[in-house]
Amino acid sequence: MVTHAHADHARPGCGSYLANPETARLLRLRLGAAIAVQELPYGEILDLGGVRLSLHPSGHIRGAAQVRLEHRGEVWVVTGDVKTAPDPTCLPYEPVRGHGLVLESTFGLPVFRWPEPAAVVAELLDWWRGNAAEGRTSLLFAYALGKAQRILAALPAGAGPIFLHPALEAPTAAYRAEGVRLAPARRLAAAGARGDLAAALVLAPPSAAAAPGPGRSPAARAFASGWMQLRGLRRRRALDRGFVLSDHADWPGLLAVVRQSGAERVLLVHGSAPELARFLKEQGLRAEAAPQEAAGEEDEAPP
């Protein structure tokens, strides 16, 4: 059962996969067309040996799902990665009620409060315009699946030339194929003479080390991520700017998910799980940090 198609969830090597149809298409893109995927649209119920299982939008990225499990009247909800902020590229998070909740708490501290996405996009446009006026390429790091497309969807058409790092081409094409409206963008390989990039915005995955700026003036570098809320992380990556744009719930968002679920028991995974668990306990809920799988601890590390 795969909640969404990010690489740390969409692992190869399973005999069969269960996923929502949008996630299934992204899975085939990532793992090959030959994998066996059973598609389960949002809201439909699958009976698995007496457990009624259904998927519901989690708002994280396109196709991302929460899993609702019901057995003899007891309901548990596993949120997977979840985002409560609006995102035009996917269905909004849908509150699901349950007796128990397994919640991802990557940003489970009250210092994480996201600004309005529209205000962040306005800042981004300002930064891009300022760089373009000085003939400097704007290099924006964003996760290849989800974040990059969310940014493309938010940019007004005609804002300027946009280029995509090769790693972003396939997921962007997949979003377009499903009818998501994205600002036009060209492949980086199609950039010809060096002047092409001077006023351009280049979207690249965070792992892209080399800045593809035109020879003389190095590109201005920025990163779109919830982690950019912290000044230290911005400075560590030697970024010109950090745009606070996250595909995860912030502190108020997490508390809203807990409240709307009506759950009496909450298990927290990732990030500040022990802290959020303690806070919820003080609010009278039965909450605890779920024991982490060995590899899971690494997800905690900020970029």
Binding site: V111, R231, G232, E298
Partner: protein
């Protein structure tokens, strides 16, 4: 206040020198003098005194944010900066506050300092409500005494030169003695050239040594160079003018109060003299180590007991002005000859002459460098005999060639998350060495690893954490690192019995097992070697 906060934010955001200078020039072009003077002092490293204890500030902030104090602590641990944590936790302020920078620093914050907790709470909360986020961050850093946003003096000088039309050299020289945060001092700094004679009591910009970055042979004939010990003390100029003698540090502080006996000795020099040298704690012909000197530095008006316990000398090595004439353009040899003459005439043992080391060839120099540490010096200085006294750090005139540090292999035993740029990553490490079958902590080190190595160690800590003590993780003792340090001394406060100076990580030693790390006995051996080394060439005033 708002404008200064915006300048700080711009300096934080801009990585390029050109942009930083432009941001500075924008600010100083039309900042009122009383604010501009404070802004420049702050950016050059002046820290406001803490006004509210940080524990109180944390309580105020947790209450204002409506969260329990333990959660505030968890946030701080994650963010790695107190002012930023508070700024992120509080709702956006009104941004209406219009108190100017100098009024905060001269009146409001000093007044806040004297208040009881409840009264402080009222003032702090009101300020938080009135300030926007950018200004709040800077304001909290003032209140905690932790304001540390700085710019290199060179950048500030460039910006001020652009704004005022004055030459950079003149501005640098006017700034050399430090700047007072007053409108009058600001106007004096920027007044047109020639309208005044620059304050005669001020020091001259220091000439700084460049690290030796080439083979010795590339320096040409050894006979073109003068060689001295590189002292591990505090650089200080003696400016003897009129009725006073001032002892100036590189940071632009007057050190007379901490070293009254040196200041008194300097009165023996003729008026119009400027000398460059180094303050050292010194007894029986050898330096006593930097930590002793620090005790002297930290104490104003030392009593006779401290003066007797830790005697100081000033070790001279250059002459910058004589009889009021600037000699900085003269070759080193001529300046040195003048210096020797002046110190001989003064005839005071507390004004010593840094000895020249006779070096027949580069090979002999290498041997001397290996000896430096045992003689209480940090390494060697090479100065070109025909070179002028330059302003700042110029290549090819003075080279410093530091001795190799002490090195040991130690095991990582504890780690905690770093601050600032390293927030969130485990970057503060405690290293231990073996004492019998037990690992004993002996040094904490933060620096020396590159970004990729920091990530690797961070992953190691996350995977190998055995126990959690709040922010600290005890890790399985498996990772061996080579640790370098500059000095070692006895310490009753450390479990290992020794304290080391400026420990840092040289490299990871994945090839070594924990059992192969060094021992306390090995550290004691280093200490013994250092303490018993001969000093058979005591410096004297008449080399």
């Amino acid at each position: 206040m708002k404008r200064f906060a915006r300048l700080v934010a711009a300096l934080d955001r801009c990585r390029r020198t050109r942009e930083q200078v432009a941001a500075l020039a924008d600010y100083f072009r039309d900042a009122p003098p009383e604010d501009a003077a404070w802004a420049a002092c702050l950016l050059l490293g002046r820290r406001p005194r803490p006004a509210v204890p940080t524990a109180r500030l944390r309580r105020f902030a947790a209450a204002a944010a409506g969260i329990p104090e333990w959660l505030f602590a968890a946030c701080y641990e994650r963010v790695g900066d107190l002012a930023e944590t508070i700024t992120l936790l509080l709702p956006e302020g009104r941004g209406l506050e219009g108190v100017p920078l100098h009024a905060w620093l001269e009146e409001r914050l000093p007044a806040l300092r004297g208040l009881e907790e409840e009264a402080q709470r009222g003032c702090v909360l009101e300020a938080w409500r009135g300030l926007d986020r950018t200004a709040r961050l800077v304001w909290i850093k003032f209140v905690t005494g932790g304001f540390r946003v700085g710019v290199a003096q060179g950048k500030l000088v460039r910006a001020l030169a652009r704004v005022s039309g004055l030459e950079e050299a003149r501005l640098a020289s006017r700034l050399a003695g430090g700047l007072h945060p007053t409108a009058a001092a600001w106007r004096r700094l920027l007044q047109p050239a020639g309208a005044e004679d620059d304050d005669p009591g001020r020091p001259l910009p220091f000439c700084l040594a460049h690290p030796l970055d080439r083979p010795l042979e590339a320096l040409g004939d050894p006979d073109r160079w003068r060689v001295e010990w590189k002292w591990d003390g505090v650089r200080a100029q003696i400016v003897r003018r009129g009725a006073e003698a001032l002892l100036w540090s590189r940071g632009g502080e007057v050190l007379n109060a901490s070293f009254p006996e040196i200041a008194a000795a300097a009165m023996r020099l003729p008026g119009g003299t400027v000398l460059d040298g180094e303050l050292l704690a010194f007894r029986a012909g050898r330096p006593l180590g930097f930590e002793r000197l620090q005790r002297r530095l930290g104490r104003r008006d030392p009593g006779p007991r401290l003066l007797a316990e830790i005697p100081a000398v000033w070790m001279g090595y250059d002459l910058l002005a004589r009889d009021g004439t600037d000699l900085r353009d003269h070759p080193l040899d001529a300046r040195r000859a003048g210096l020797e003459e002046l110190l001989k005439t003064a005839g005071d043992p507390r004004l010593a002459l840094s000895p020249l080391l006779a070096v027949a060839g580069w090979g002999e120099l290498r041997r001397l460098r290996d000896e430096a540490r045992r003689r209480g010096a940090e390494g060697l200085l090479l100065k070109r005999r025909d070179a002028p006294y330059a302003m700042g750090r110029r290549r090819g005139i003075w080279y410093k060639w530091k001795a190799d540090p002490f090195r040991v292999d130690a095991v990582l035993t504890y780690a905690r998350r770093g601050h600032g740029r390293r927030a969130g990553l485990f970057t503060d490490y405690t290293f231990s060495v073996w004492d019998g079958g037990e690992l004993v902590p002996f040094a904490r080190a933060y620096s020396g690893l590159d970004a990729a190595e920091i990530r690797a160690v961070d992953r190691f800590v996350r995977r190998n954490a055995r126990e959690r003590f709040g922010p600290v993780r005890a890790v399985r003792p498996e990772l061996v690192c080579e640790i370098a340090f500059e000095d070692i001394r006895r310490s009753a406060r450390h479990k290992s019995g020794v304290a080391v100076r400026f420990p840092r990580i040289v490299r990871l030693r994945p090839d070594k097992k924990a059992a192969e790390a060094d021992t306390v006995a090995a550290l004691r051996a280093l200490l013994k070697e250092k303490e018993t080394a001969p000093w058979n060439e005591p410096p004297s005033a008449t080399s």
